[in-house]
Amino acid sequence: MTETTTGLTAGTAAETKKFNIDTVENAAKTPDVELPWAELGLKQNEFDEVVKVLGRRPTGAELAMYSVMWSEHCSYKSSKNHLRQFGEKVTAEMKKDMLVGIGENAGVTNLGDGWAVTFKIESHNSPSFVEPYQGAATGIGGIVRDIISMGARPVAVMDPLRFGAIDHPDTARVMHGAVAGIGGYGNSLGLPNIGGEMVFDSVYQGNPLVNALAVGVMRHEDIRLANASGKGNKVVLFGARTGGDGIGGASVLASESFDDTKPSKRPAVQVGDPFAEKVLIECCLELFKGSLVEGIQDLGAAGISCATSELASNGDGGMQVELTSVLLRDPTLTPGEILMSESQERMMAVVTPENIAAFEAVMDKWAVEYSWLGEVTDTGRLIITWEGEVIVDVDPRTVAHDGPVYDRPYARPEWQDAVQADSFTGSVQDAGRPSAPAELAAAVTELVASPNMCSKAWITQQYDRYVGGNTAMAFPDDAGVVRVDEETGLGVALATDANGRYTYLDPYHGAQLALAEAYRNVATSGAVPMAVSDCLNFGSPEDPDVMWQLAEAIRGLSDACMVLGIPVTGGNVSLYNQTGTTPIHPSPVVAVLGKFDDVARRTPSGWKEDGQAIYLLGTTAAELDGSEWSNMRGHLGGLPPKVDLAAERALGEILINASRDGMVDAAHDLSEGGLAAALVESSLRYGVGARIALQDVLDRDGVDLFTALFSETQGRAIVSVPRSEEIRFTDMCTARGFAHARIGVVDAESGTLEITGVETMDLAALREAHEGTLPKYFG
């Protein structure tokens, strides 16, 4: 923490007069001054563009702003050309419930009854590798502030996590830190953690993926946007003070200063203060309730640079800001550092003069610090001064929106064909495929104990899932479900999914499979899928192979959204996830949000009632390439399971109707680990066993028992149906022409999972295997 090097002196601007301030006037007079643009991450052509836009060289402060705002992270310069498809491939029908689309802090979807929901998923990958606790914690903090910025009360979080090999010595460091950070921050905010993912794969060893999702709800009239409008309205910065944390490459800015006493090394990872964030949440909600802010923006990546330029750019005029008014934790910060600092728990708002007193009263009530920085103007310029001297004079659009856009070259990798030709079936790793009853039972047990399929309870029991009192479903069910309206039971369901192996084998279809699984999970819970947010985690866009993966994934995802009829409302792109020249598996994490008219009818993933019929919905093909089974055997090749979006839609409708009409008591989607994993999970959910016979399925689909159990064919689910509902349920499936097979019954007495052809498995032993893995590695 910076405080340790500087002391906790509350800095004020007056103390900071030691800088040789590079004013706009100075910049115009000294065109040939060497600027550290390369160290700040700008390319020659980008720096030239800045000079062209300004008609002179940038000042140090302007350079700081452009360098962060034109970074890949903030400008989406490599992905923008492709991301357009999310906005283009939408129908009027898909737009009908979209109240705020892509481009704002988070998209907003209409829930009906005057309610709206906003959700977004983001990455905090690199910080979480460098400093897992703070990286993961501030990932939660950042996404939650995005949700508050929309005017919503955050109501839940989720955390999809991807780590290196489970037995690698460094994995425990990242795992312990990230989980404790997510828990430490999220638990302190009073937000239930309702689900997520956990994947171990050596491709993530040097690039763990720590993604965070937050969801919030609001009344329609409370929706807030990030824009600064109305000449004379005041600009205020509130929340935590600005410190030296989270400044990337800031050391080069030392050229701005004559003072050698300032801390020489700034941590690039932000440090979180969840208590400050919790207070900020309540404080903002009180501001919204009193209609005390005209526009609001959280401070995340690029800090004040981003907030001022985006607010001004989205507004109708300009903005004038006095930078010495910023309250500092560290009085030695230079103007450039103040502009770039990513100190957490800060917000910027636009307030009318009439509301200043009321605004200040709310701040005082919650003991939140604030400072008035300036005001909205009609000049069309963003002017930032330092003790009255102009150090930034830019068109805010050129900073926030008109950054460089690249058409990066991309091409299908030369190795792709060879990978796709290398099917698991018949491979060396496929030798000795289990077939005898004892072998199959051992295989099932090994599967559910494997790193990716084992119980995630070790993680989730470190998260508060109860706070708020509206959690209707959470881990380990298929989707997290939160009630929005206590009177009517109106609520939302959320699921996130990705499969890096599938996407590596075929980026176009792999991304679609991620969407299909999240969609299926939401439908399995009984909710109607409505909207999508995606976090696209990829390697370097400068590698044509990776760029092709990214382009294909976006094309696949946007095409599939059209077919499923649900729009992307926002998301995030995380590039350069690679170690040396080795990229991670392309990992588009897709979050789907669904709606419940009443969460009371949610469908859990486990069965309880003795004698209920168990049905398998959908047909099974021999699709083991990219599967968990092949992964356990160390093989990755071939083609991922086929995508059939029409089947996903049909299955979804059946599951939603079944929930609505009370035809099923349990439903669980089939995905990684196939039917074997689903049967074990549904049995272990409430510790209630089942007797299963798959002969009809084997005959119908032409597969053997092993394939039926371990294949990862999509568009499938298992359900348990009360006897009284069986006819109605099967009639519905028949009427819709959807394959369904009665594969067994719930057996509450036996304490076993019995599958014909597989040695009977004791639930207690399965549970021990399933739940023992994470404690074994992580204590």
Partner: protein, 256 residues
């Protein structure tokens, strides 16, 4: 708190088989500190029990006319010093301490961080330290009601086992042996963990009371077990509601 959602009346009536609306006159205060998290849940629990919740702010200097007070869970002041150590100095806390010790014996319930605040305030003995396994833990926890004569447990049977959520980082109850012996001897151990001690608490103690039985503190969360489908999956899911109906019956009984 002005705009509380009007929920729960019907649920409360259904749960208790009698028309509780007559009890709406009973006012139960719920205190919010900066960093309090479960205040909305406590408000809901009070309402579901049939009473009228009253929002209290830590900086308030009066308790108004509340008949009982709940100090809910959370991380007041971030727990950055020691859980509850700063909150005990809030202006409202001195009022609560006085009222709890007064002849009228105001019923006070501290849940989780609220329990920590009560020990820091010396309304209850002992203290909480970090869980013995050093991690935050969230689980459905079985408790045994060891004393059903306090203001907050009179609706339970002695020895009754209830399941409520538990979620904390600093939940390990400790006190010196003499204090523990005295608590046991005086029947002031109100709840004990059953089956699994989730944090290393001495003698499996989950909750205690003061000598008069009007002040009760516990680490688990009864306010998260008041509505079926939104609480523990074991049992009825509403086994925490008895805390709130207990105090309500006590208030109504006193007013008779």
């Amino acid at each position: 708190m002005t705009e509380l959602p009007l929920i729960g009346e019907a649920v409360a009536v259904a749960a208790h088989g009698s028309d509780l609306r007559q009890l709406n006159g009973a006012k139960i205060g719920v205190v919010t500190f900066p960093g309090t998290l479960d205040d909305r849940d406590a408000v809901r629990a009070v309402r579901l029990a049939g009473a009228t919740p009253v929002a209290l702010w830590h900086a308030d200097t009066t308790l108004g006319d509340v008949d009982a007070v709940v100090i809910p869970g959370g991380f007041s002041y971030g727990d950055y010093l020691r859980a509850g150590a700063i909150s005990r100095f809030a202006p409202l806390m001195s009022k609560i301490i006085d009222a709890a010790n007064s002849e009228a014996r105001l019923p006070v319930l501290g849940i989780c961080n609220g329990f920590q605040i009560l020990t820091e305030s010396h309304l209850l003995p002992g203290s909480m330290i970090k869980n013995d396994h050093l991690k935050f833990m969230c689980r459905d926890q079985v408790l045994r009601v060891e004393n059903n004569t306090t203001d907050w447990t009179r609706d339970y049977a002695a020895g009754q086992e209830i399941t409520v959520p538990l979620k904390n980082q600093d939940g390990q109850y400790i006190a010196d042996e003499k204090t523990l012996d005295a608590l046991e001897a005086e029947g002031r151990v109100v709840f004990r963990y059953v089956g699994f001690n989730p944090n290393g608490s001495r003698r499996d103690i989950a909750g205690i009371s003061n000598a008069a039985g009007n002040v009760v503190g516990l680490m688990p969360h009864p306010e998260h077990a008041v509505e079926a489908g939104f609480g523990p999956e074991e049992g009825s899911g509403t086994e925490g509601l008895g805390f709130f109906t207990s105090v309500l019956n006590k208030i109504v009984g006193d007013n008779k």
